[in-house]
Structure formats: structure tokens, C-alpha cells
Amino acid sequence: MTTLSDPPQGSFRLSMLLNDTRYRSYTFQFIALIALFAAFAYLGSNLVQNLRAAGLNISFEFLGEPAGYDINQRLIPYDSQSSHWQAAKVGVLNTLLVAFLACVTATVLGVVAGVLRLSNNWLVRKLMAIYVEAFRNVPVLIWIIIIFTIMTAVLPSPRAFRGDDPAATMLFDMFAFTNRGVYVPAPSFASGILGSAADWLIILASLVGSFFVSRWNVHRADKIQEATGQRPATFWVNLGIWLGPLVVLCWIMGLTWEYPALKGFNFAGGLTIRGSLIALWFALAIYTGAFIAENVRAGIQAISKGQTEAAASLGLRPGRIMNLVILPQALRVIIPPLISQYLNITKNSSLAIAVGYMDITGTLGGITLNQTGRAIECVLLLMLFYLTISLSISAVMNVYNNAVKLKER
């Protein structure tokens, strides 16, 4: 007769913690957690000991104290009696300004250079290759310093514009390029509706409205083309949609320009764009444009040649092939690295202290840190700011990736 017996129940033994794969992961994680806590406790105790020996403590009260230094470029009101927190806000806005300007310029440059690198003109291809290789292989700090040196050493000083036969003249009597900065006309609204900031918001709102209306117009043209086969003209209508409200609003609110003029030894009036901002902006734009050119080229080359040939066999012209067939597919490959290049621009803008531009690293991480001696708090706030920007840009990239992901079953 056969006897049935239960299969042997494995009893838990302590060595299973290391040998049995069911329990081993818990053991490792437990050890990792203990090690992490031990490391933090060690570093924390050292920190407390050193702070006590130096007579310091961790507190953020210094942010409310008056800063005591001037910032020569600022987008919001600030003077030397404003608090350190206000100085930090000025730095944040300066960082965002130069990052935005550099991102736009770098994208334009990069796309142009990337497309030109694929042109069938040998000379243009080689020139763009030289541009890309030269700028990718030299550190960005050296380019920033070189362009800043060009601005300060090569451009004339305002004094050269004086006199009856000046050595330098203004461009169109509106723009002045000097070694202190570029002076451009400043726009303002004479008979504004609500106040200067609200006027600019009205302009911004009209631009946003024009964007959506023109998109609706293109959508309508698509529908008509699908239904009847004839596409109504959209270019002139869209141009009118963009320019019409803008022109009308500017005329209603009385747009005037204040021109810079040489008064004494310097220019007065108009808008001053300082050399440090221009140097940082152009250096970041040209440097990152080289990387974006390579991304664009890789994206367009990632589309198999069969797509181009199939489109050509349908009778599409080269311009239409690029717009309707290649670019929509290439954008899926181009945009994620493009967004990481935007991230790089924002992080590289911290090199502004090499040319004296007061971004957040210059105010909070530079003068405020040196004056108050609060190194840990300042560096922590600085890293928190950059981390917030990086994580938001990465979130945007993830949203885009999920939206255009190829949906596989």
C-alpha cells in the first residue's frame, strides 16, 4: 500500500536570510538601510560638531537682512537696502532671462546648422562640420570668456561716438554697440489702458489668441481639403491673424520708442543690454547650437531613406517631403535630446559669474554667500532652485514622450 504524506514543509532557518532568494533581497535592503542611516548619522554628527566649533548654526534668517550690494542688471526693483531674498529673486529672474534667450537662439542656430550639414553643397557641409566640431570640443567657459573679451576689447567705448567726426556711429541712429553694452530703443505705451505691466499682458494675450485662431484656421483648411480636395489659401489669412490685432492694439495704446542718445560720456535713454548678458547669451547659444545641430542631423538621418524615396515616388517636391513626411517622424527622435540641451543651457548659465553677470549663482551663491558666511544654507537653496527647474523640464519631456510614443499592442 502507498502511504500519502504531505510534502516536507521547509522550516525557516537563519541562513536562509542569505541563501534563499526569497529572503535575500530583504536582507540586502535591510543592510542598505542600516548603512544609509549610519552614513547620515556619521556625516550629521561631524556637521554638528564642526558648526559648534565654528560658532555657527543653520538658520535662514539672513534672507531678511539688507543685502548691502548693488546689482547692475535687474528685471524687478532692487537697491542695496533690499533683502538678500530680493537679491535672490533678481538672480532667479536673470537666470531665467538668459536661459530663455539662449534656448531660442540655440534652437534656431542648431536647426539651421543641422539641416545645412545635410545639404548637397559640399562646401556648406564642410563649413558646418567645422563649426560643430570646433564648438563641441572646446569648453564652454573658454567660449564665454572669448566672446566677452570680444565685446569689451573690440567694440568702441561710448567716448568714440562723440565729436564731429566720430570713430564709431550708431546703426540707423537707433542702435549703439559699445564695449559697455548694446543700447537699443525702448518700447513703451503712451496711452496705455491699465498700466505698463498690464499693457504687456494684453499684448501677450493677443499673441496667444492669434496662435489658437491660426491653428483653428489651419484645421478648417484641412477639413475642406479632405472633403473637396481643394485647399483654401491659409498663409495670408494667418499673417493677418497674427499681425492685425497686434497692429491695432499698438495703435490704440500708442506705442512709442525711446531712442538712446549720447549725453556727456555715456548713452542715456533706451534699453541697455550689458555686455555680460550678450556674451553669456551668444556663447551659450552658439555652443549649444552645435550640439543641437548634431541632434537634428541624427534625427533626420534616423528616418530610413525609403521614406524619402516613397514620398518622391508619389510626386512630392523636396520641400513638401521634408515638411509632411520626414520632419514629423524626425521630431520624435529630435525633441527629447533637444529638451536635455535646454536643461544644459540652464545649468551652464551658472557660469555667469565668470563674466560678472548676476544670475542666481552670482547673487545667492556668490556675494550673499561671501558676505553672510552662510555657506550651507546658500548652497542648499541654490541646488534646490536648479533641481526644481531640472525636474520641471524633465517632467515636460516625459509628458511629450508619452504623448508621441508609438502605441504598441
Binding site: Q29, A32, N50, S119, W122, I145, S350, V379, Y386
Partner: protein, 434 residues
Amino acid sequence: MSDTSSQRMEPFVRHEMLPEQAPPSAQSGIVKWSRDNLFSSTSNSVLTVLSFVSIYYIIASASPWLFNGIWNASSIRECREILDGAVGGCFAVLAERWNQLLFGFTYPDDQYWRPTLAFVLLLAAAAPVMFFKYLPSKLLFFTAIYPFLAYWLIWGGPILSPIFALLGFVAGYLVWGRLVNKSFAFGFFGAIAAAFVTWAIGGAITGAVAPEQSLLSAVPSRDMGGFMLNLILGTVCVSLSLPLGIALALGRQSDMPIIKWICVVFIEFVRGVPLITLLFVASVVLAYFFPPEASIDLILRVIIMITMFSSAYIAEVIRGALAALPRGQYEAADSLGLDYPQAMRLIILPQALKISIPGIVNVAVGLFKDTTLVSVISMFDLVGMIRGPILASTEWNGVYWELFAFAALLFFIVCYGISQYSQWLERELATDHR
């Protein structure tokens, strides 16, 4: 009657081929090439003409400056006197300050042969790794002892320190070899324990026995500078961050949530901040986290932070490569009965590292360029030397272009060389033949 039959015309049959004629002059040679590549359409022709004009303009303005240079003067004023109004570069600054640009401000004059020898040996030590198919693999022994030799050459001090450091690694390797067959954990932790024991003993012996005047005089870290500092930071940080990056990448994609979250938080934090804030941490904040009596050199703190920075980027590159491997590789390793360390070591990592070589080289080149940022925290690397002691001195105040062009040229040569090597390596390792 006439004999017409003998004068009958025979049909013409050719028996040998006519020789080929040369193509028309507009369809061959450089004319055809130009028509196809430079002037194929109106817009192309316009672009070509514009390009020629700008190239001519650039060369016409740069070549007098380049070729009319002064190499033998002792100050910028003297350069200008010699030039007497002509356009020419004052390259004498490079000739006179060559050693400072390369080795830094305060490196002892008579010891320049040491870093130079270390650099030559670096090329000799890197060659068996870079060209591993063409050089005998015994040379890898020299690569293994090179870090210790280079440290001793550049920093000097008692020769017993690098010898015992090397012995610690050797002891760890031997113990690992004996114990790894039992289990990976035994091998790993046993090796670490053996290494630490050897280092502790070695440290005690060196402290007791070291002579007053060692064979190579000790050079303190604050005397390092110039392009040598960039090279040291670049090579040390990239080599140290490779194993750390691999560990972080493997941890990030592991199944254990705690380890995964530690790696994720570390990688995202380090990638989200600019390197200059990490250098600020290295110069002002990191000292607070070490015990009060330990005074760590600035260069060591900078190496720690740059290594952390580059290991996060390398971890992301390797994570992309691990994701590119087909899932079947992991499953095949499981079906062969390999445990996790064996599967990683024998199957997964060799393939993943091969895929990630271009990305790693990109990170390495980017890191080498980023080492110039240490000039912002007042370490005198190449850019720091140029902006600091050289441009601030009275003899050379105002010599911008020559110095910056020289710095750009040095970095261009190294970085372009590395990227060309990586493209060659990709072609060598490509196993698919299309």
C-alpha cells in the same frame, strides 16, 4: 567586259573595339565635381559664393596675425615695439610662460620631468586598453600598476605608500579569486577586508619606516596647476566613476525598492544641479562633513564631487544600454542557472558596455571640458592660470587672443582625438555587417 565581281564592296565588319574616348571636359574631373557639389542649383551657387567670400575674409584677416607672430620677446610692450604697427600675434607669451601654462604657478622648476614622464607613461598605459586587439595583453600589467606609479611620480613622497596601496589591491584580488567560487558575497567582502587589512598594516609600516628625504620630493596638492591639473582631474574622475556608474545603473533597475530609490534619488539629484554648485560644495561645504581633525586637500574634495557628478551621467548611459538589451538575454541567463552576479558579469554587462561606449566617451569628453570650472573656485588650472597670474601680470596684460586660442587649441586636440578614437572603436566593435 568589265570584271565587276572582283570590285564588289564587302560589308564592313569591325574586328577590334574602338578605344574609349575621354569624356567631355565639362563632364569629368574637377569641373564635374564642382557642378554637382557646389553649383547644382541657384540657391546652392549663392551659398557657395557666400561661403567663399566669408572664408576669404576670415583667412585674410587671420593669417597676418598668425604668420607675422613674435615668438621672442619678454613683454607685450616689447612685442609691439618689434612689430612697429604691423599686425602680428605676440606668441612670445606662450614661449615664456609655457611651463606655467602646462604645470601651474608653483610647481617646482626642476621637477617638471616627473609629470612629463607620467604623461608619457599614461599614453603607454592607455594603449593596451585602447588598442587591445593589436597589442599583447601582458602589457595590461603595466596598466594595472600605472595609477600608483603616476601618483608617486606627480605627488612624490615615500615610495612605500603607493607600493602598499598596490599590495592592498593585489591581496584583495587574491582573496577574491579564492573565495568567489563559494559565493559572490564571500568573495566581495573578503576581498575588501583583505585590502583594508593590508592598507592598515602598510600605513603603520610606512609611518614608522619612512626616511626623511624620500627619493622624489613631495609636492603638495596646492602646487598642482595648469593643463596638468585638467588632465589629472579628467583621467582620475572618469576612471573612478566608471565602476560607480555601473553599480548605480544596476541598482537603479534592481527589484529591491530601497536600493532602487536610493540610486534614483542620487542620480536625479546629481544630474539636476550644475557642476559649479557641486564645486561650491567641495570648496566650502564638504569640509563641515568630515571629522574636525581631518583636513582633506581641496583637490581630493574636488575629485570626490566630480566623480559623483560623472558617475550619475554614466549611470544613465549604462541604464539606456541595459534597456536596449533584449529581455531574452536575462531569461537565457536564468535558464542556464546563473545567479545574479554571474549573469551580470558574463552575459549582460559585456553587451551593455559595448553598446554604451559612445555615450561613455561623450560623458568623458564633457567631463574633461568641465574640469575648467575649477578655475571658478580658485584652483589654477589652464583657464585659471590664464585669467589669473598671466593676464594680471604687468608684462602680459592685454594678450588675450594668443592665450585663449592656445587653450582652445589644446582642448580641441584632446577632445577631438578622443571622439575620433571612439568612432574608430565603434567601427572595430561592430559585429553586424550590413
